[in-house]
């Protein structure tokens, strides 16, 4: 560096530093300000150098934290100087001090324009840098032509191109509508990605990234260029890039920007581009395994910066399971790294991986490590990341452990993150509760540990769950009562317990320890410590008690009559006390019973907790809180949907092309079966009415015959017949074409648990089908254990010498092994009551998907396999029934009750089954079918 440019400035700065006190500093500054003001005012002959010096002093004073309200004009004057250093200080002053002021805007723009047009690259660059730093709407309008031209012109030198690119970026961001880029420039802008000069490419990617966000289609061409540029960098040696290599890592900034650019698009369509990109990502993952080339942290940081961005892209594409799992393993290594930064980032990225169905399981392997991080990390931001990850990786299999660990941590957690943790625990324990008693235990514990951080949404939700689930109400009353017995109770606990006892206190009133009077006294002992909102709530509880326990009516009335309520200064309390008292005095028991009836179930909608969580963390949580749900529930339900979509995709020709092969799903098809020709599938005699018009999202669920696959060439139908745990099955393969299908081969693939759950015994398929003909393949399927997943059928054949492969899910649901059971109302209720252990029951309230027709419901339920018993439920609109699920080793009794609510357009389905988990599975099969 050169000697002092402005001696006077240096002297002034020294003076300031030598000031012994704040007052002395202020005096020195004021003296200087007066001096500068006088100079500016009096001395018209002030030369450029002096102006520059004084403007610079003002800047220094401003940076010390003082307001500067003059000197703007002098600064703007400097812009028109023909001396570079004077101009430069003028621009600096404008960028630092005047960035949002509108004064002299036009004058500034004029000066910038002059410099841009000056043909002197160093002047042009100063002007561009200023625009890039403070550009606004006016500037966007003013330079909409000039700056793009600089960017794409052949004679612009590289540093100017770089500034121009980032200048445009700034203008695009501040004012996209004012900046109109000519579409003829698109291709040339995209091609900057290929620029020989890495600095130009680096600056240009940022601009292109922003333009892509506004208009992805127009800039689609950038994908290929970005992939090839990336590929050239990652496959080269670090020595190839000279000064653009940073600590042995070739062009890390450019790499990261390219990887980010690609995250604006889905995986490339073009197979060669896609495989090239995959190779790049593979290479980056491989490099992470190589020994470090330097011990310096800069080397590993730069390498890992690229790696993390690559992982982001892999997660974004979410289609290469191999890459996803590799990424996850890599991050798993980082979790144990010495560097806190790496552990932090690994936890953060894993959160995203947990939301992908391909890598969710791989992430779960690290549960132990993550829990340890929660316990042992010394940095709260790292612990916060661990909490987020636990939340994201949670599913039914690990919910109990994770919720327990989070609860334990909550007791010592930093105050800043407690409310969020409370929400997360509440969401997880509800979502993955198999046993709602467990859920309630967790929730009450939550209120006990962190009552202050329990937001309204959380305790409202507890009430909603209890109201909607009849099976836990008496348990809820019991533990609410117990909770109130603690000497110090959080007010949120009093609210929850008060509400629950008001509704369900009668369920524990036979226990001598909690007879009505004891319940009432216990609640009322807390009353005086509570806020008026809580007191209002408790008054309603008392009123409900009058209905539940007429014997304590008089005590309640005494309380209502008490001055502190009846004449309360709080209007709400007073109103409730007066009205409730009057109500209790004039109404008959029957009227009271109606008015104070227990609360009806709440309609199910999105949990308010999720909404709350999203509000808490507007950016990141919006994704992580909703996506794991999709990912974790995807497995069981994805099957039928996938199978369906393949069929739809290939469907259009089927009807017109030949009338011989028709779907079972339409009415006409039934007719065509009657005059069946040799090509058509055999007509099917099903025990339930043919129910051909029933709408269902799942094939074969309600029927014993169905088309399970169809495309232009082939239609596959199936017919099944049950005998206890053995299903007789016939597949019909219809050739829709006018040529032979040859070399047919098929396998039924069972993976995971399914392997031990079902056994197939199917005869080999014939190897060929004549044109328009059909072949049959029969066999049996044995149910060894109640299974969850669907088998996959792989089929291959040759059509005109071209190998065709189709894979589809075999819609074999466990209900096929249910045998209907008839019984009278006594034995139904006896059995129902006996099945009250946790895990035996599953209840779900869900919205109606189809018109609510009684007959359709009946047909579906009967088609499902179990009986429809009439005269059991007092409400004739409801359905009850029973069945036996046969497996090789046991018979599982299943009972159900389906209650339509036509007004609310909702159903409530309750299933009880003698084996844990079966009720859940059956509800899952049915909850989107009505």
């Amino acid at each position: 560096m050169r000697g002092d440019a402005m001696r006077g400035l240096a002297v002034f700065i020294s003076d300031i530093r030598n000031c012994k006190s704040r007052e002395a500093e202020l005096r020195r500054i004021n003296k200087e300000l007066t001096n500068i003001r006088q100079r500016f005012r009096a001395d018209k002959t002030l030369d450029g150098y002096q102006k520059k010096k004084y403007v610079c002093k003002l800047l220094f004073i401003f940076l010390l934290g003082h307001d500067i309200d003059f000197g703007y004009m002098e600064a703007v004057n400097l812009l028109s100087s023909n001396k570079y250093t004077e101009k430069q200080i003028g621009y600096l002053f404008i960028s630092v001090i005047m960035n949002s002021s509108t004064e002299m805007k036009q004058l500034i723009i004029q000066n910038i324009r002059n410099d841009i047009q000056s043909r002197n690259p160093i002047f042009i660059n100063l002007a561009l840098q200023c625009v890039a730093n403070i550009g606004d709407k006016e500037m966007a309008t003013a330079f909409t032509q000039e700056i793009p031209r600089l960017l794409i012109s052949g004679d612009t030198i590289d540093p100017v191109k770089q500034s121009a690119a980032l200048c445009l970026l700034r203008l695009h961001r501040t004012s996209p509508e004012s900046l109109q880029l000519n579409t003829e420039w698109t291709a040339r802008i995209i091609h900057l990605l290929n620029d020989q000069h890495l600095g130009v490419a680096t600056a240009a990617v940022s601009l292109i990234d922003a333009l892509v966000k506004r208009n992805p289609d127009e800039y689609k061409g950038c994908v290929n260029l970005a992939v090839s540029r990336l590929s050239r960098i990652v496959t080269s040696s670090y020595t190839d890039f000279q000064d653009y290599t940073y600590y042995f890592v070739p062009a890390p900034w450019l790499c990261v920007k390219l990887l980010r650019l690609l995250q604006n698009y889905p995986p490339p369509d073009d197979a060669s581009v896609r495989s090239r990109l995959n190779e790049c990502l593979d290479t980056i993952l491989n490099k992470a395994q190589e020994p470090l080339k330097s011990k310096k942290v800069q080397h590993s940081n730069a390498r890992n910066a690229v790696l993390f961005e690559a992982i982001n892209l892999i997660i974004h594409m979410d289609c290469e399971s191999k890459l996803l799992v590799r990424a996850c393993n890599q991050l798993g290594q980082f979790l144990l790294n010495r560097e806190t930064n790496l552990r932090y980032l690994a936890l953060e990225s894993m959160c995203l991986l947990a939301t992908s169905e391909f890598s969710h399981d791989a992430v779960k392997k690290h549960q132990e490590t993550v829990i340890n991080a929660l316990k042992s990390e010394r940095d709260v931001s790292v612990r916060q990341r661990a909490v987020d990850l636990l939340y994201a990786m949670c599913d039914r299999s690990n919910a109990e452990d994770i919720v327990q660990e989070m609860l334990t941590y909550l007791e010592t957690a930093d105050y800043t993150i407690r409310e969020e943790m409370v929400l997360k625990i509440a969401i997880l324990s509800e979502k993955y509760a198999i046993d709602y008693k467990w859920y309630l235990d967790i929730m009450l514990k939550l209120i006990r540990i962190a009552g202050d951080f329990v937001s309204e949404e959380v305790w409202y939700r507890v009430i909603q769950v209890v109201v909607n689930r009849t099976d836990v109400q008496s348990y809820a009353a019991k533990i609410a009562f117990e909770a109130l017995q603690a000497p110090a109770c959080h007010e949120n606990m009093i609210k929850v317990a008060g509400y629950i006892l008001g509704e369900y206190g009668n369920l524990i009133a036979l226990d001598p320890r909690s007879i009505p009077m004891i319940q009432f006294d216990l609640i009322h002992s807390k009353y005086h410590l509570c806020s008026t909102t809580t007191r209002s709530l408790l008054l309603s509880t008392y009123m409900k008690f009058i209905n539940l326990f007429p014997e304590i009516k008089q005590y309640v009335q005494d309380i209502l009559r008490h001055d502190s309520n009846y004449r309360s200064s709080d209007v709400e309390i007073q109103q409730r006390a007066t009205e409730y008292l009057r109500l209790s005095e004039i109404c008959s028991a029957t009227v009271l019973a109606t008015v104070l009836e227990i609360m009806p179930p709440y309609p199910e909608k999105q949990s308010p907790l999720l909404v709350r969580l999203k509000q808490k963390k507007p950016l990141t949580e919006a994704e992580t809180s909703s996506e794991p749900f999709a990912a974790t529930t995807a497995n069981p339900e994805d099957g039928p949907k996938l199978a369906e979509s393949t069929i739809h995709l290939n469907q259009p020709v089927q009807q017109q092309q030949n009338g011989l092969l028709l779907s079972f799903d339409t009415l006409e098809s039934n007719n065509s079966f009657n005059d069946a020709t040799s090509y058509s599938l055999p007509s099917i005699s099903s025990p339930a009415p043919t129910s051909s018009t029933l709408q269902s999202a799942k094939k074969l669920l309600f029927k014993n015959s169905d088309i399970i696959f169809e495309n232009d060439l082939l239609q596959i139908g199936i017919k099944v017949e049950v005998a206890k745990h053995i299903l007789g099955v016939e597949f019909y393969y219809g050739n829709k074409t006018n040529s032979n299908l040859t070399n047919i081969a098929n396998t039924i693939k069972v993976t995971g648990d399914l392997e031990s759950d079902i056994r197939f015994n199917i005869e080999p398929i014939k190897t060929g089908i004549d044109p328009k003909a059909q072949i049959k393949q029969s066999g049996t399927i044995e149910c060894l254990k109640e299974f969850q997943e669907l088998p996959i059928i792989n089929l291959s054949f040759y059509y005109g010498n071209v190998l065709q492969k189709v894979d589809f899910l075999f819609p074999l649901y466990v209900n096929k092994f249910i045998e209907r059971a008839e019984m009278d109302s006594n034995s139904f209720f006896l059995r129902w009551r006996n099945l009250d252990k946790p895990g035996q029951e599953c209840q779900k309230i869900f919205p109606a998907k189809y018109p609510m027709m009684h007959d359709d419901c009946r047909q579906k339920l009967e088609g499902f396999g179990w009986s429809n018993l009439t005269g059991i439920d007092v409400n004739a609109d409801n359905f009850c029934g029973a069945g036996i699920l046969h497996t090789a080793s046991q018979q599982i009794g299943c009972l159900y009750r389906l209650e339509p609510n036509k007004q609310a357009k909702m159903y409530r389905l309750t299933v009880r089954a003698s084996k844990d988990g079966v009720a859940n599975r059956l509800v899952e099969l049915l909850d989107d079918e009505f």
């Binding site: 150098y49 430069q88 690119a165 680096t202 000064d243 980032l345």
Partner: protein, 162 residues
Amino acid sequence: MVVIIQFILLFSRQGKLRLQKWYTSQTEKSKKKITRELVATVLARKPKMSSFLEWKDLKIVYKRYASLYFCCAIEQDDNELLTLETIHRYVELLDKYFGSVCELDIIFNFEKAYFIFDEFILGGEIQETSKKSVLKAINDQDVIQEEELEEKRSVLEDLGLA
């Protein structure tokens, strides 16, 4: 408005702000508030902690070099490690230009520190990562400055009386 780097602050261990660069429009009042809060937060952190922290809806990446803290605010989903190296590259540039830079160099030559910024980062985005290119641009400026100084050197100025 999305900007890769939202702002950069340099401050001393005593909490004195030495340099600030804002890439989003902020009022002076909110700049001061943000600075005050952030300086306090970062100074309170212990050495073994991670270099990243969530702050409002931003992410703060910081690193201490001798007596100075360098502190960058980025978006939540930006690349933290690379931001750390962006800081490092800037420190290297200062170091190379001033020759083993210290806090005083930045105080007395604050305008140079800004000029180096503009050659390296523009509008919140990296524009040139090559150390040589940035330093060449700054040295070219110094040559011009020297020439211009030769033309107009005031006697008073030399004595430091102006």
